[in-house]
Symmetry: C2
Subunit: 330 residues, 2 copies
């Protein structure tokens, strides 16, 4: 009973801090120009699970001296949480230019509504505001590290584009791409959260590894859902990855481990942009299950990193969050 | 004789510092991935007049205690010069996505060569590296101010897009757009150069105003050349501005001050994307000359700001640079 009260209280702290993060987000993007504000209001519809801000806040709590207290989370935690979400949303806005996706989060995308030009500039506005806000945190080391993270992220996207339509893309290259384009930012959220709470280096590094693993598992689950999810549940256009020549983990595993008949059939389906057939082969051949297993193993390694923390309701929440990464259907 | 020797020596210092800036540029963008490096090499072809790095260095020299000495320019000046050039090049790469321009600086654009997706990500890579390099300068105030400058720049681009095809765009709104999208960054280059040299606040502010005026005049001259320039001299696609619904100063002046016959004819030509006719009316009606006069007046006000500096060969060079902004044909 006491235990479940403690859990509810931590969930309450998280909700409150996420609200503060959202308020910072809106204040930061506010412009003197109504036209710019209209676009920013539109962008807020992109906001999804708030995974990155959640991890800054939970790791900030978990690594603090008082993991059950609201006071352990400072305004700087929320500012950093907001910076991470802005960068993430900028990549979504720019990815929509890339992917020509027509729907995301059940709302019209910026590019289909206003054209590629506006989507590009709006993404740039988010990136610029992210760095501006980051400079206001007053931690030059975090500024520098955020720059490194976004450099790595952009390289990941560029490498992925370089391998477009490359059906020979192997698993190690795939993992290097998702490490760069997804895992590094998620890891940084955990690291910054802990560092801002004054945690020792070993804790900061363990939580960085935790976040990187969660980010990788999250990306694999996205890949699985893009192939095998239900569009009405996921809430965004599916089957876009292979339609744009992006090789996802289930496809890589299918081409590497399927029978030669399955391989040939899959290559035809990729060429023909036939998502239904591809999904059937991936399911039947066991490639989808293999991809799911990869994600489950990564989540397991993530959860082991949490041993660095003392037992607490926040630590339980981090375990749960890692677990949900692969059980989610949207 | 002695005087011309002194001028040659300052020109030599500038060349040397621009080389150092280029070296920083290449080191900063270097990636472990050959594919990323290939793209970055391509981007270097975008490099044009190096106006922004030149202004950081010249204002850094002019505002220093020893304006004729190489030692007055530190590595930090060159790093800031490089940050400004990276941001500028990112806007060029992203503008090419916007404008569907097919040639720039006599080279194929990134988007026509590799697709919009790569152009967007490459621009992001430049922005990210710009902020990362900026964090390495070790001047948190410059970090914060660069963030403000790029926020303003993006707002300028968004407002411009908002007024696309808006033939009722008036002169004050036009000047507000170019202030944001061009003048503020050029002004910041002059301000940062002077501030890094330890100049007093009045000098820093005067040079900021100098740079903003030079930037505005530069943009107006770009507008004039887009309408009246010779493609083989300018070295990039011309007539793109009005083709994409972008109202430039000569057109705004033509629509505001031309006879009603000229107005009607101009609106038809804009609709029909008929650059030749538009150019003829703009020339005949005096609108092109009015635009040129606006730029000349702005350059005059820029040069007056240089009175804050003691006479020196660098100051002469700044006068010359301001003058060339409007006399250039490319």
């Amino acid at each position: 009973m006491l235990d479940s009260l403690a859990h509810a209280s931590v969930a309450g702290i998280l909700t409150e801090c996420l609200h503060e993060t959202e308020a910072i987000f809106e204040r930061q993007l506010a412009s003197d120009f109504p036209a710019v504000n209209d676009l920013c209001r539109h962008v807020e519809r992109y906001r999804g699970k708030m995974l990155r801000p959640t991890l800054v806040i939970l790791c900030g709590l978990a690594a603090s001296k008082a993991p059950n207290e609201r006071a352990s989370i400072t305004e700087r935690h929320c500012m950093v949480a907001c910076v991470a979400e802005m960068i993430h949303m900028a990549t979504l806005v720019h990815d929509d230019v890339l992917d020509e996706a027509s729907t995301r989060r059940r709302g019209a995308t910026v590019n289909s509504l206003r054209g590629n030009e506006t989507a590009v500039m709006l993404g740039d506005y988010l990136i610029s505001n992210a760095f501006h806000l980051c400079s206001r945190v007053g931690e030059p080391a975090i500024n520098l590290q955020f720059g490194e993270v976004t450099n790595t992220l952009c390289e990941g996207e560029l490498i992925q584009l370089h391998h477009r339509d490359d059906t020979s893309l192997d698993e190690p290259t795939y993992f290097e791409i998702i490490r760069r384009k997804t895992a590094v930012l998620v890891g940084a959220c955990c690291r910054f959260g802990a560092a801002l709470s004054g945690a020792p280096g070993t804790t900061v590094e363990a939580l960085n590894r935790f976040g990187m693993a969660v980010g990788s598992a999250f990306q694999i689950q996205d890949d699985v859902l893009d192939l095998a999810g239900k569009e009405e549940v996921v809430g965004k256009s599916l089957g876009r990855d292979f339609a744009k020549g992006k090789m996802t983990l289930p496809l890589i595993l299918l081409l590497a481990h399927g029978s030669s008949a399955e391989r040939l059939c899959a290559l035809d389906a990729i060429q023909a942009h036939d998502g239904r057939t591809l999904r059937d082969i991936a399911e039947r051949s066991g490639a989808l299950d293999m991809a799911r297993e990869r994600a489950v193993a990564i989540v397991r390694s993530a959860r082991e990193e949490l041993d660095v923390l003392a037992a607490s309701p926040v630590r339980d929440l981090l375990h749960e969050l890692a677990e949900r990464t692969v059980s989610r259907e949207f």
